[in-house]
Symmetry: C2
Subunit: 284 residues, 2 copies
């Protein structure tokens, strides 16, 4: 069956799959210095933002990604006071970070200010915490920002970027991870979206290797459903400086209300990896 113009379709060309959403109206389309931005009103997934034709988020399922890229890392840290989000221009990750009372300063370093401006306009539920006095929105290059960060100046680095091609490519390499490692205090954690466990197994394996090469003491991957991304199954990879990622602040995690996907139970469950992925990662 062919889909007509009433559908927004993202093709994952290397994977031979495509995901489509029925749309009712195009709310925005523009080209920034970095990429082509689109916002659509869909029939049943709320508003949808796409960058260079790739779906970044929909209003219906953004809660899963944003909760899972942030809370497992923050609750794995004993006292996350200083947090930076690299990318994440839609501000959904920042919103989740600011739920944590321990967080004293939260920076968002997004290269493309237009992503944030379109989010403010079309996804107000994502940007509602931007006025929090702890939030600092910086528009610039995340690679450079991390390189300039003082040693031992951060507790958690969240890399909430697009796919590892184009502008985000440098965020998946050893030099960037070395800068993260240097900027983090001992016990500090970097967490990065790491694509689909089924489609991008090789990328996850390469990230583990690169993070260890950069000096991180422990690296672990968690998975979660993400219906709007290719394959509907996604992952985040965490690495810790100086110690293992065993354990998390369960009691605090249980007290954090208002969440739809994350819970202490889900935290533990998300790190359970299927045998095919454990084997790829060389786990016993």
């Amino acid at each position: 069956m062919a889909l007509d113009d009433d559908w927004f379709t993202e093709v994952a060309p290397n994977e031979g799959i495509a995901t489509s959403f029925r749309v009712e109206a195009k709310l925005a389309e523009e080209r920034s210095a970095w990429q082509r931005l689109e916002v659509w009103r869909t029939a049943s997934f709320g508003n949808l933002m796409a960058l260079d034709g790739c779906v970044m988020l929909t209003g219906r399922d953004e809660f899963i990604y944003h909760e899972m890229i942030s809370h497992p890392a923050l609750f794995s840290h004993a006292a996350p006071r200083r947090v930076v989000v690299i990318g994440g221009g839609d501000c959904g990750t920042l919103r989740e970070v600011l739920r944590h009372p321990e967080v004293a300063e939260a920076w968002q370093v997004e290269i493309d200010e237009r992503v944030t401006r379109l989010a403010e306009q079309h996804f107000p539920e994502l940007t509602r915490s931007n006025a929090d006095p702890r939030a600092h929105l910086h528009f610039g290059d995340g690679l450079a920002w991390l390189k300039d960060a003082a040693p031992d100046s951060l507790d958690v680095v969240i890399v909430d970027s697009t796919d590892p091609v184009g502008p985000a490519e440098g965020l998946f390499g050893v030099p960037f991870y070395r800068d993260c490692h240097r900027a983090l205090g001992v016990g500090g954690i970097v967490v990065q979206q790491s694509e689909s466990p089924l489609l991008n197994t090789g990328l996850i394996v390469a990230m583990h290797r690169a993070l260890r090469t950069a000096g991180f003491a422990d690296v672990r991957t968690l998975t979660f459903p993400q219906p709007c991304y290719p394959s509907g199954w996604w992952s985040a990879t965490l690495a810790r400086k100086g110690s293992t990622l065993e354990g998390f602040r369960q009691a605090e995690a249980a007290r954090l209300g208002g969440l739809s996907y994350y819970s202490p139970e889900i935290h533990r469950a998300a790190f359970a990896l299927p045998p095919f992925l454990r084997a790829a990662l060389g786990a016993r």
Copy 2:
């Protein structure tokens, strides 16, 4: 972007989403007494079978569904000797059931023999256990088969059916669940595919209610990724006669080799439900 004839597309019309696979050749297309059957060779997901336009399975990700519809239920039963698969004509679930040495008899009751014949031809990896002397392939109505089953004659009923519309509709109701309950021994388990946790939350809630109404003592849902199904996230719902579903045979589960998705860790993790789903189910 519009997709041309090189793509097989499944539209989930009520959900406003669609999933597409790049195809290289149509291997079969026919109409049986029950439905329209298609088999395609895809570019990167192996062969694909569709019934009435809905993807049933692909060679690349069938392992997840088939392992998760069968092993959690079988390892939750103390001694699953007598197992029936209702539907499941592709034989992938039967293959997983027959991995269990405790199973003495395994019936597959598929209404449409053509599903099995096409699987034998185009998915030999699914039908490779069909010659097992414990396997009994029966082509007929699963509703009638269960109604005729003697009381206390089964340990596990696996309902591996299409969506709850058309031929499979009766498999999602109290009368069928009562027949299952009667046919199962005490401690017996019924497990049924229960659609997408995100898209079909209401169906899962209704199944819990119906299974309890039919007399089951405990009802639980597990989730798993299933890239080829709408939203990429799927579920199975288990119910037990006479006792809770707490616990499973972990040591035996750890010894079962050759699996790609299921493991004891995954078993525990799959039952962790996100807060939105727990709330819908009325869990504390």
